[in-house]
């Protein structure tokens, strides 16, 4: 009988297609995975399935008229893109924003940060396999949708900020409603911790998976909670001190490697949970401090015709990290070039470098922990 010799050249690698249609909530992303059974050798991301050419449309719309398109750059946290575009245009045209408008911007943005993190946390738990936290977080997000509907009329794509301020003031009694909801929200976050964050199985799935050090994170351009989870305390709200954030007190949660190594997937999850709690603190302070400023003073002095010349770069701390907008004007009513720099774009690029050696299920956890949304990548 002849012997069967198994050699290493008997390639048992298979090429899988984690196709653009998949039951995950991060949008249309595609991975071409070369794997040896469960262990991945190489995972190449393929993006562009949601490329809506928003940057080209900026070249034919006026500056204020472009605001609804900025909602769609990141629809889960649309207030931040609105703020980014208005800050870039205000820097370009030299417009000052009144204090009450800044407070309204902070309030709407922090509400949106909580809403965005709710989807991120729920989706991450669902990708791991725990289906229950997702409706829990969706329930909280429904309340926030109700608040923003009262404030500006829309549940998802707000178009609330304007160049020079915001569009509408708070309705009467809105601040009390939000404070009552916050009283309800903080115990729910504690319950959420007990349910999933400190759950044994969840921790075992996520701890020590895809560790990213601070040096790697800076080199690959990771921003936001992903960078903070690697142990580097960097938050544009404290560093740049834009808007009225210097007047508010809050902490920056940083990954400490409590359940594994610093910079693993569990740290990225936990940083977002802590950020929700910090946002609740900021909201309480802002809702109190806004009463010091006169009502209805919500838009600054605007030039008669918005035809600026020059270029400007502005950035905000969005729910997904540092979102920057680079706008060039050439004396016309439309922008000459508008470019959005988003956190998810660079987060996708690191996956190819980090995936060899992971299990297939860990790849799903890694993508979920970066909190990527497809429109930020493709714009």
């Amino acid at each position: 009988m002849s012997e069967v010799i198994f050699t290493n050249e008997m390639d048992e690698e298979m090429t899988l297609n984690m196709g653009p249609h998949h039951p995950s909530t991060h949008g249309v992303l595609r991975f071409i995975i070369q794997s040896d059974g469960e262990i991945i050798r190489k995972a190449v991301p393929d993006v562009g399935y949601l490329h809506r050419s928003i940057e080209k449309i900026a070249e034919r719309n006026t500056y204020p008229g472009f605001m609804p398109y900025t909602d769609r750059v990141d629809y889960v946290a649309a207030m931040f893109s609105n703020e980014c575009w208005s800050m870039a245009c205000e820097k370009l045209m030299g417009i000052e924003v009144p204090k009450r408008a800044s407070y309204l911007r902070v309030i709407s943005c922090e509400l949106n940060r909580i809403a965005s993190h709710m989807i991120a946390l729920g989706a991450m738990a669902m990708d791991i396999g725990a289906v229950t936290p997702f409706p829990w977080t969706l329930r909280e997000r429904e309340y926030i949708n109700d608040f923003t509907e009262e404030l500006c009329g829309a549940r998802l794509t707000y178009n609330y900020h304007r160049i020079g301020g915001v569009s509408w003031d708070m309705p009467k009694g809105w601040a009390d409603k939000v404070k009552r909801w916050l009283d309800n929200f903080e115990p729910i976050m504690k319950e959420f911790d007990r349910l999933i964050t400190l759950n044994d199985i969840f921790v075992k799935r996520l701890a020590n998976v895809a560790v990213i050090t601070t040096e790697e994170a800076k080199d690959w351009g990771l921003v936001g909670p992903n960078l903070r989870a690697s142990g580097f305390a960097w938050d544009l709200r404290k560093e740049d001190g834009y808007s009225v954030y210097p007047e508010l007190e809050f902490n920056i949660p940083v990954g400490k490697g409590e359940m594994g190594t610093v910079g693993d997937c569990w740290d990225r999850f936990y940083v977002r949970v802590e950020e929700c709690k910090e946002s609740a603190k900021i909201l309480r302070q802002a809702l109190d401090k806004i009463n010091e400023h006169p009502e209805d003073d919500i838009v600054g002095r605007l030039p008669k015709k918005m035809k600026p010349e020059g270029e400007a770069y502005a950035r905000v701390e969005s729910a997904r990290g540092d979102m920057g907008c680079y706008v060039i004007g050439k004396g016309g009513e439309e922008a000459y070039r508008a470019k959005f720099r988003t956190g998810s774009f660079t987060a996708m690029s690191i996956i190819e470098a980090k995936s060899p050696g992971l299990f297939l299920a860990d790849l799903v956890a890694l993508i979920a922990s970066f909190d990527v949304v497809a429109p930020e990548i493709d714009r």
Partner: protein
């Protein structure tokens, strides 16, 4: 360090041929920027990253802008330093007919995807890039859309690219333009 000081430092090290044309903060330019000769950009960026005083470790964004009137395509790099909290903006002016420049992948790994995007939308070739192919558009797309003279094709794989305007198609009266409409 102020942008002016950084510019002077670079000019001392690399000479006036490589680093030139400083624009300071003014009404038109809200951030200071200067030009870099395209084919010398890699040593300049390497110096920016490794020198301890400068320590630029974060490539924020790489944008491509098309200027058909000047017959140039400009690649703008916004680079930031976490340690010293200063920013520098480099611009490389490339020839519009044949835009090419060396890659920055060896300096900052994040430049990989930024350069692919520039190539996809504007057609700039980055020499030395490990994997330069289209990223946002389908692989068989023709043309570079963000150029100012880009024309949309009639159809893509049999799918028509325009949809007839229903107002013209069904002759719907628009209030304000049509006197009969309410």
């Amino acid at each position: 360090m102020t942008p002016e000081a950084i510019f002077k430092r670079l000019q001392e090290k690399f000479g006036e041929e490589t680093v030139f044309d400083f624009h300071e903060v003014s009404d038109k330019n809200r951030d200071a920027w200067f030009q870099v000769a395209p084919f010398e950009i890699e040593p300049v960026c390497e110096y920016l990253k490794t020198e301890p005083d400068l320590a630029f470790d974060y490539l924020e964004s790489m944008t491509g802008v098309d200027y058909p009137d000047d017959k140039k395509i400009v690649v703008v790099d916004h680079i930031y330093s976490y340690g010293h909290k200063h920013r520098v903006i480099l611009k490389a002016f490339l020839d519009r007919e044949d835009p090419a420049m060396p890659t920055l992948v060896n300096v900052w790994s994040t430049a990989n995807w930024h350069e692919r995007e520039c190539f996809d939308l504007l057609g700039v070739l980055f020499e030395g890039h490990p994997d330069l192919r289209r990223i946002l558009l389908p692989d068989d797309w023709e043309g570079h859309p963000l150029r100012k003279d880009y024309e949309e094709k009639e159809e893509y794989h049999g799918i028509p690219t325009q949809r007839p305007n229903p107002i013209e198609l069904y002759k719907i009266g628009v209030p304000g333009k049509d006197k009969k409409a309410s």
